[in-house]
Subunit: 303 residues, 2 copies
């Protein structure tokens, strides 16, 4: 049984039924679930004004929980970055609290990594992942359980046939990344410290391929892609193509990216705004191993 | 009579009727209109592949025209930035060619300023401005005519009542800016060299206020806003608010911005994706003068 702390650092919770379903499910899974006093607060589009959300983050850090889980992403962390309680967050991580989330939470994760070096976890959110009607993703549940129990040592997936490797690939580097839109919005600021020799993973939602290309171009022209040992693409979902794309699609952008960089570009990582998602340690040294079509990110001590 | 050169550096022209109307109108205004051989070419969503668009830019630079005018914006310049013919563009500017455009063209303008210091013009595009059904904006026509005849010395507009100055304001600095989305996509790259003591103007289209705020936050956290002497906001249009904004709107973002910076934030600049737009010299030293509700950007020699 793990102690979970549920809080809202970004947008206001709108779907209260999903919120309740999520909490019920986590309890049914055997966890002790503590809910922050402002988890359902709202101020305009935010889960409370800036001071309220900062205080909630502070309480999450002070909670002593095994996992501090966001209710949802949305928007709101970027404007808090100068005032995040970095020391308290790093201390909590050192004591064993896993901060878990995605999407807007990428801003928190990159800033914490840049300022403190502490590792946080790209993973599910309460509402969209645990609060769904019907069954949550099996892989998500398994990975979250691994994280809660401390048993997780890695995540694997199958590459598309065209990316199969004849010779095995083994790369060691610092894993970082998350939501592409949020990540590029931090380029050039002190809250993003792209590691040299890193392994960069990316996902996004509601962004047309031309915008994905423009964002990748920023990482390219800023010299960030050239410093990576590998680029791992997760799921890019819920965008709408238009007739005048005339063949310009996500695959076009991925092929273009592959031609711009000298390092492996892998796709298919089960992470993003999708039910099937793994948990990934942002800021940790990992091994990326590819054999044939099998790709693995490994961070356990035993491998 | 001015010599105009029409070319397509970004997205493919889709509205050919507007293209033809625009050319007919420019001719009716007495201009000699030269149309690039690839102005109507298309490759996926682009006005030709990268090599084709780079060649068109080269021909525009070599044309000896008084004004090189884009057919439209869209997307496509960002990926060309490493290969733009910077020397030829700077030479053309020195010989008297005014490169005019907006939106995606911001990438061209910022990169040319960063690499060569040459001044280009934020202004209309062929299709959307000259090719409209009905009458083009009067102020746009007058400003374009001033630019073509070399008579332009400045642009003025009226501030909202709340921004009226009791004491006159007079600021001298380098004018720069354009489309916010395109501009932030260059932060951290060698194609954006934000001037210290600059006067930054911004506009955007189809971007929700929360995204405008996130983009401004990037400029803020990157230290770019603190280096400016003034921020001048043009038109932010065609975005859709949603019920869960609950009072979070463009004005919220502008007020927030005003609280983040110590310099004047002025609004109402007639520039953006609107019919009423002025022409502005990107990269030029200008005077920004405010008296009461009257704001002026002046670049003429006589003022």
């Amino acid at each position: 049984m793990s102690h979970l702390y549920i809080y809202s650092p970004s947008s206001a919770v709108r779907d209260r039924a999903a919120f309740r379903r999520g909490i019920a499910r986590l309890k049914a899974l055997g966890h002790e679930v503590e809910v922050d006093s402002d988890a359902l607060t709202s101020h305009m589009r935010f889960a409370g004004d800036d001071a309220t959300r900062l205080a909630a983050i502070g309480r999450a850090a002070a909670s002593g929980a095994d996992i501090a889980l966001i209710t949802r992403g949305g928007y709101g962390l970027t404007r808090l970055l100068p005032d995040l309680p970095y020391k308290a967050i790093a201390k909590a991580v050192a004591r064993g609290t896993h901060f878990v989330g995605l999407s807007d939470f990428t801003a928190f994760q990159c800033a914490v990594a840049a300022r403190t070096g502490a590792v946080t976890w790209a993973g599910p959110a309460l509402g969209e992942d645990f609060g769904v009607e019907g069954e949550p993703g099996e892989i998500m549940l398994a990975c979250f359980d691994d994280l809660a129990s401390g048993a997780g040592e890695g995540a694997g997936w199958q590459l598309p046939r065209a990316e199969a490797r004849e010779k095995p690939l083994h790369i060691r580097g610092q894993l970082w990344g998350g939501n592409l839109s949020v990540l590029v919005s931090m380029v050039g600021t002190p809250y993003l410290a792209p590691p040299r020799g890193g392994i960069l993973f990316l996902e996004d939602v509601n962004e047309h391929p031309y915008r994905i290309e423009r964002m990748l171009t920023q990482l390219l022209h800023a010299g960030i892609l050239a410093q990576q040992k590998a680029i791992v693409l997760g799921q890019f979902t819920a965008y709408k193509t238009v007739p005048h794309d005339k063949g310009f699609k996500l695959r076009t952008v991925i092929d273009w990216l592959g031609a711009q960089v000298k390092v492996p570009v892998l796709t298919g990582l089960p992470f993003g705004h999708v039910p099937t998602k793994v948990c990934l340690p942002v800021g940790a040294k990992v091994d990326l191993v590819v054999e044939g079509r099998d790709a693995m990110v490994l961070w356990g001590h035993g491998h």
